[in-house]
């Protein structure tokens, strides 16, 4: 039902696992506040360990870039063609590619390799090709991107994606997914035509999503030499650009994942059924969609509000700097988001991902068998071992939490005035413990 993919979902995490995870998270947090370092350790300008410069040369080579971009574009076209001419059912490969390979696969790829969407984004490739094909006089960007918008358009874009997945009347509807993609392409190409590449860097929801997650990756570009280096992700995290809408963007990611868990719990379902019975005359699909939209908005707002308030709750700073605090702390939300997305969607990525690839090997239902994939069977490696899966899920949430509190602690030491460094981060720690407890509770089954 959810995600438009059918099939079963993960079994709830056993109570003991959730409790152990919660105990870990709580003890670690307070041990950190009480005993940890008192001088900031992590520096976004840290040089990192340089990798052989041949690697940077190969990765930056035009041939590499265009090959990777071309392959990604071809794959995207393939998926869209499957969506248009393939069987118009839930088995269509477009749904799996859109909801699983793109939404979750992008997190895994960005975490492992850095901001890959910049390279593989099909819209960017099309834009660059169009720009080459037209005379310079016509294709020159006419406006500059309004920097006061920041990442807000991307946050809105991400919200429309999660709305389609979790709150629209039918997330499995191919016409809806195709319309979403059409609007996405038109908005990005149109905006980029007027404002240039910066539009793509700020407005493309997947680009911003990938950029944010990539701050947790060990690989990065050296801020001084531009070469690819390997370094401590804790040094990389604070390099998240602070722009308007950055907290909202992360809140959409965390709030929607939490709502996805919550909306499949019997508590929510009974509540939704009762309300829809009260709303006579309104079709059940419409009323439940409206209710889920409200639920989704509430979850996202709660995350955004609690995080912003917690970041601001400190003594010893003036109004101006205080207002800047949520943005400056936003990077510490990334590990929680990534941990929770993996906890929630790992089995989707591994198992539904296989299903999507198999479906795409025979996109039009004509018995094609590309690369011999079409006759493969999905290996349910995670679902068939629930204790292992539950252990991985709890480990993801707890690791994300621990990483987040370390990052928040260190940044607080840098931002807060002496004398308020301990008290000033207490609220943030409590809020993060709150997120993690809620996350574990939802994994346990709500």
């Amino acid at each position: 039902m959810a995600h438009g993919l059918g099939g079963s979902s993960d079994l709830p995490v056993p109570y003991a696992y959730a409790m152990v995870g919660a105990a870990w998270a709580l003890t670690f947090t307070f041990a950190l506040v009480a005993f940890a370092w008192r001088r900031p350790r992590f520096d976004p300008d840290a040089p990192g360990h340089p990798l052989p410069s041949a690697l940077t040369t190969v990765i930056d080579a035009r041939a590499t870039r265009w090959t990777v971009a071309g392959v990604a574009l071809a794959f995207a076209v393939w998926v869209v063609l499957a969506g248009i001419w393939g069987s118009q059912t839930q088995a269509n490969g477009l749904l799996g590619a859109f909801y699983v390979l793109l939404w979750v696969g992008l997190v895994a790829a960005s975490l492992a390799f850095g901001p890959v969407w910049r390279v593989i984004s099909p819209v960017r490739t099309v834009y660059l090709l169009l720009r080459r094909a037209t005379p310079r006089r016509l294709s020159r960007p006419r406006l500059s991107y309004p920097e006061s918008w920041g990442y807000r358009p991307a946050a809105v874009g991400l919200f429309t994606f999660v709305w389609l997945e979790l709150a629209s009347p039918n997330s499995a509807s191919l016409p809806c997914v195709k319309s979403w993609l059409l609007v996405y392409v038109v908005v990005l190409l149109g905006g980029a035509w007027w404002c240039g590449q910066r539009w793509l860097a700020r407005v493309d929801p997947f680009g911003v999503y990938s950029m944010a997650v990539s701050r947790l990756s060990p690989f990065r570009r050296s801020p001084t030499t531009g070469k690819i280096v390997i370094g401590n992700p804790f040094d990389h995290l604070p390099s998240l650009p602070v722009r308007p809408g950055v907290v909202a963007m992360l809140a959409v990611l965390l709030g929607s994942t939490a709502f996805d868990s919550y909306s499949s719990s019997p508590t929510w379902r009974n509540f939704a059924d009762r309300l829809s019975r009260l709303a006579h005359g309104v079709p059940a699909t419409l009323s439940s969609s409206i209710l889920r939209t409200i639920g989704l908005l509430v979850f996202i707002s709660v995350v955004a509000l609690t995080f912003s308030l917690a970041a601001r709750a400190t003594g010893g700073v003036d109004r101006g700097p205080r207002r800047a605090l949520p943005g400056q702390m936003a990077h510490s939300l990334i590990p929680i988001v990534v941990g929770y997305i993996f906890a929630h969607y790992l089995s989707y990525l591994v198992e539904r991902g296989q299903q999507a690839v198999i479906a795409l090997a025979d996109p039009f239902g004509r018995g094609w068998n590309l690369l011999g994939l079409a006759h493969m069977q999905v290996a349910y490696v995670l679902s068939t071992h629930p204790p292992v899966l539950a252990g991985i899920k709890v480990a993801c949430v707890v690791t994300g939490h621990i990483t987040a509190v370390i990052a928040a602690h260190d940044k607080a030491l840098r931002l807060l005035p002496a004398g308020y460094q301990l008290t000033g981060q207490l609220t943030m720690m409590l809020v993060m413990v709150g997120y993690t407890f809620t996350g574990l509770y939802l994994l346990f089954g709500g």
Binding site: M1, G6, G7, S8, S9, D10, L11, P12, P14, A16, Y17, M19, V20, A23, W24, T27, A31, F35, S264, P266, R269, N270, D273, A284, T285, S288, V378, Y380, S383, T384, H385, P386, P387, G391
Partner: protein
């Protein structure tokens, strides 16, 4: 402080291993005969809704449906099942599930979840 950390880490690890072991060693029940669920659809109302049930992989699960309107019963499992519900009493729909997971059984036209079956290995 290092010693304290080490002792603490060791304690928590021991606790965690203990709990995982406890969780893994839950007494394996003999294969249950089968799960039977009675569903009634009358005047657009379904009983039960949003029930939580327990089952095992490959166990026979039977839904006995009494309905006053045609509908479709969707079982979101691996493999998935779809049954046509007619406006008739005592229709039996039998299936089993191959892959462990949370399996939702929903009525497609009424858009109601009848039950979520936690299928354990």
């Amino acid at each position: 402080m290092t010693l304290r950390n080490t002792v603490f880490a060791a304690l928590v690890t021991a606790l965690m291993c203990g709990l995982v072991a406890c969780g893994g060693k839950s007494p394996s029940q003999p294969p249950a005969a089968g799960l039977d669920v009675n569903v009634t659809i009358a005047n657009g109302q379904v009983t039960p809704t949003n029930a939580t049930l327990q089952a095992k992989v490959k166990q026979q699960i039977t839904f006995h449906v009494t309905s006053d309107a045609p509908d479709e019963l969707h079982v979101h499992s691996v493999p998935d099942h779809k049954f046509q519900v007619a406006a008739a009493p005592n229709q039996a729909f039998q299936f089993s599930v191959d892959v462990p997971g949370n399996v939702e059984v929903e009525l497609h036209h009424l858009d109601r979840t009848v039950a979520t079956i936690q299928v354990q290995p």
